[in-house]
């Protein structure tokens, strides 16, 4: 079982999953550029999402029975965990709604965007998830220093993603005419869909960064221990959820369909 392993094999599992996710992302990219198979891209995104949900977000922990009483930290963590997952389910509906909007308004077309930049920010977010997993694993074994180091890397990468999308990609997209397309009937609602989807996701990245900053600061104060670190787990699961959303948004915006200008 994943949760009874020792520290090095837990970290090793994180590496293996990261390698899988990397291979799948690269494959996705080449599938998209060489032959336009939307359904294949969807299947690969689902596989990636399943890997993230199981190995990085530890969804199986929802099933964990606590042998301690109702007032124990372990039991309360189980309660908090269920609450967090229900919140993510609810939040997931926002993103599902945005995907429905994208499918309805754009169909098999997509905005013309900088592919290299898209791949780069996707890679940055994926790597940040890897370090987040390392950080959480470190905290689970009580290694506060290691946790803080990895969380800091995650934070920097997350900030890099945010800057890449909001300050670089949005500007490049504006140069491609996506802002102007707000009022241009011949292009359709490409710009609106692009800015709305990336904007909603960027907002979640932003809140995730705040969350990371808070747990980093609390770890510095020595609030967390190997037994009691629900805040860390929550921040990690939320961060992976933000990555999970991008697993679907990346193909939806950059890969599926043909680019129109």
């Amino acid at each position: 079982m994943a949760h009874t392993q020792d520290k090095s094999s837990a970290l090793g599992q994180g590496v293996v999953i990261f390698v899988y996710l990397t291979i799948l992302t690269i494959t996705e990219y080449f599938v998209a550029v060489s032959f336009n198979a939307a359904s294949l891209l969807v299947v690969m995104a689902v596989i990636k999402a399943a890997l993230v949900m199981y190995y990085y977000m530890h969804i199986y922990k929802l099933n964990e029975e606590s042998r301690d009483g109702e007032h124990s930290y372990a039991y309360k963590t189980g309660t908090n965990r269920l609450g967090l997952w229900l919140f993510l389910l609810s939040d997931g509906f926002v993103f599902a709604g945005l995907l429905v909007m994208r499918a309805n308004l754009l169909g098999l077309t997509r905005p013309h965007l900088n592919q290299m930049l898209g791949l780069a920010v996707t890679a940055v977010l994926l790597i940040s998830s890897f370090f987040m997993n390392r950080g959480e694993t470190a905290m689970k074994y009580g290694d506060r220093k290691e946790f803080m180091k990895n969380t800091l890397i995650t934070f920097v990468l997350g900030l890099g993603f945010l800057i890449g999308v909001v300050f670089v990609e949005w500007r490049l997209a504006a140069d491609e005419g996506l802002v102007a397309s707000f009022g241009n009937p011949s292009v359709g609602p490409l710009g609106g869909v692009f800015y709305m989807m990336t904007g909603m996701h960027a907002f979640h990245v932003f809140t995730g960064l705040i969350f990371l900053g808070v747990v980093w600061n609390n770890a510095r104060k020595g609030v967390y221990s190997a037994e009691k670190h629900w805040g860390v787990e929550a921040a990690a699961v939320y961060w992976h959820f933000v990555d999970l959303v991008w697993i679907f948004f990346y193909p939806a915006l950059y890969l599926i369909g043909t680019a129109v200008q």
Binding site: E70, Y75, G78, T79, L82, G83, L86, F87, L89, S90, D91, F93, V94, G97, L98, V100, M101, N104, L105, F182, G183, N184, P185, V187, G188, P189, G191, G192, V193, Y195, M196, V214, N217, N218, K221, V223, G231
Partner: protein, 630 residues
């Protein structure tokens, strides 16, 4: 009065005003620097009002102190699990409390206030409709920057949404107060989130009502673009208010779900949970997930208005029908959010007053989930005339008719429960029976709307209005009143006056039948909904006059209720024991309930509704077993 000004409510409202000014001022300043116009008809420009509404809400939440513990947690400071309320009496209810019972009552009180406001709006436009042609909402009059017919539209639209928010708060009030007591829990799973869910609804109500004075809006509660894309700035306040109220609903249902899963008493397995708990699960599942869709659809229109993103503008390649899909994906299941707790209250109370086991417990429990599930598959029946793809019509017609199956299960179970029972009819039971009959009427008038061929004629007529009011009165209003009469002694230790309660019922019910039958009748003749005036040649002036009188009679009956409610808090007959002779755990201890609920935990040892059977307890308090209780 001094107590009021230092209360969380007053502080929150004060900070909401400050926050609105800060947000709006910020946008105005930036616009001035960019050389754009800084002011508009309603002083601030539309973007300024939108950001102001948003920051006002945030300021309210921080200013009222409901987020204080979270801010401490963020700084790494631990807080005790529970805070004792240091307020007593009425002050408890205008300050932040973490006690689910106080929060439940807070929800209920705000719901009652909003019912009064929404009802007042209805009376105003109902009076205008009493005769054809415009009488007092004329084109000459001017109020809040709107002329008479525009004001009519605003009041009619706000009536819809204010009532919807009131219903959401009302069911949250019942669920908050009762569900933890039924489960034997000391509180909800997340007491701070629970307080937050309540307090966020207050700025939401303020935002909604502010749309009235900011130019109003004329779209009805549905806010369809393209009309909503060019309505006055009040539209944005409406969108923002609904969005914020939606978060109240989402977070409240999350809390209910976790509480039910994690905090049940020993021995309370799934098939021994009270029906109201099952109904709360079903309703919470819908509210938790689907609410995001109405939030999203309204956000998209907000962005379309602010930035010109043409999501729903055909001229810019957008699709107005997409809005309707997103909107109804929540707003149809939403009506099941409204009625499921009410139907749960009916199932909960019925066996108490007929002294018989609830017939078909499992079927009733599962039918709630069935309604919730099917409810997700029927949304497009609101769009038969909207120009959506034709092939979608028939599947949605059949899925809609399918709703009748789980609902029918409930009716058969209720009738079988009543059958040969020893019926007594105190006020709560009257409202339960009234609810069943009215909801039956609402159910029977549903299929003509679900069937495409008839709906093409009935769509957007008063028939729909009549049908809708039947379902909501039967599914929410009657059970809500029943719940208040029933649990009032639990909350206060006193009973509400029976005579006034019966007067309330016997005045409201016949008037209500006249009202909705009349609505359906004029609808069939050709009265359109949402219009300020109608053609005298339709010959329905007399019918409209009767409807208006009926509406005022209903209002009178609700006023009697309000008087009874307020008066009974102080002067009601003392009732500290098991007033209704119920088996439910909350009635096995004296009223009013102490702060942390049960002093001794209980264990579930039997079925919840085995009334009239010997030696069949439902719960047993641990340590001191109940002696010879039947």
């Amino acid at each position: 009065m001094k107590g009021f000004f230092s209360s969380a409510l007053a502080r929150g409202l004060f900070w909401q005003v400050i926050g609105t000014l800060v947000g709006a001022g910020l946008v105005t300043g930036i616009r001035a620097l960019m050389g754009l116009s800084a002011t508009d008809t309603f002083f601030f420009t539309e973007p300024a009002w939108v950001l102001g509404g948003f920051t006002g809400t945030l300021f309210f939440l921080v200013g009222s102190g409901v987020t204080a513990d979270w801010i401490k947690w963020m700084r790494g400071i631990d807080t005790p699990d529970h805070h004792e309320d240091h307020h007593t009496g009425a002050a408890k209810y205008i300050n932040v409390s973490l006690d689910h019972k106080v929060i439940g009552i807070q929800y209920t009180l705000v719901a009652l206030v909003l019912i009064a406001v929404g009802g007042l709006f209805a009376l105003i436009f109902r009076t205008e409709l009493a005769a054809s042609e415009l009488q007092f909402l004329t084109t000459d009059m001017k109020l809040f920057g709107q002329n008479g017919p525009q004001l009519y539209n605003t009041l009619m639209s706000l009536h819809g949404m204010i009532m919807i928010v009131s219903i959401l708060l009302g069911i949250a009030g019942i669920m908050n107060y009762v569900v933890p007591l039924l489960l034997g829990a000391a509180d909800m799973a997340f007491p701070r989130l629970n307080a937050f869910s309540y307090w966020i609804a207050v700025p939401a109500a303020v935002l909604l009502l502010s749309s009235l004075v900011l130019g109003g809006f004329d779209t009805g509660w549905t806010g369809y673009p393209p009309l909503s894309a060019r309505a006055p700035v009040g539209m944005q306040m409406f969108f923002l208010g609904v969005f914020v109220a939606g978060w109240s609903s989402i977070l409240g249902s999350l809390n209910i779900l976790v509480t039910v899963v994690r905090m049940r008493a020993r021995g309370m397995n799934a098939m021994r949970m009270p029906i109201l708990v099952w109904a709360s699960i079903a309703t919470s599942l819908i509210a938790l997930t689907a609410t995001q869709f109405i939030g999203l659809s309204f956000q998209l229109v907000m962005f379309q208005r602010l930035f010109g993103m043409g999501f729903f503008d055909p001229a810019k390649g957008g699709n107005p029908v997409l809005f309707q899909h997103l909107f109804w994906f929540y707003s149809h299941p939403a009506v099941y959010v409204f009625i499921l707790p009410g139907l749960g209250v009916i199932s909960e109370l019925l066996p108490v007053f007929v002294r018989k086991p609830l017939f078909g417990y499992r079927w009733i429990a599962m039918s709630s989930l069935g309604i919730a599930l099917v409810g997700f598959l029927v949304w497009a029946h609101h769009m038969f005339t909207s120009g959506m793809n034709e092939y979608l019509r028939v599947p949605f017609m059949y899925s809609t008719l399918l709703v009748a199956v789980p609902t029918g299960v409930k009716f058969f179970s209720w009738v079988a429960t009543i059958w040969k029972g020893r019926i007594s009819t105190p006020t709560p039971m009257l409202f339960v029976l009234g609810g069943i009959i009215v909801f039956l009427l609402g159910g029977l008038t549903g299929p003509p709307n679900a069937t495409i061929s008839t709906d093409l004629h009935l769509h957007d007529t008063y028939f729909i209005v009549g049908h809708f009011h039947d379902t909501i009165f039967g599914g929410f209003v009657f059970p809500f009143f029943a719940a208040i009469y029933y649990w009032f002694p639990k909350a206060t230790g006193r009973r509400m006056n029976e005579t006034l309660g019966k007067l309330h019922f016997w005045l409201m019910t016949p008037s209500f039948f006249v009202l909705t039958f009349g609505m359906m009748y004029i609808g069939l003749i050709g009265m359109r909904r949402r219009i300020a005036d109608y053609d005298p040649a339709l010959g329905i002036d007399g019918a409209h006059l009767v409807l208006t009188i009926a509406a005022f009679l209903i209002a009178t009956s609700v006023l009697i209720f309000f008087y009874n409610f307020i008066n009974s808090i102080r002067n009601g007959e003392k009732a500290e024991g098991n007033v209704w002779n119920s088996r439910s755990p909350e009635w096995q201890v004296p009223s009013p309930m102490p702060a942390h609920n049960y002093e001794r935990p209980f264990e579930v040892v039997g079925e919840p509704y085995d009334y009239g059977l010997n030696d069949s307890g439902f719960v047993k308090f641990i340590e001191e077993p109940a002696k010879g209780k039947h």
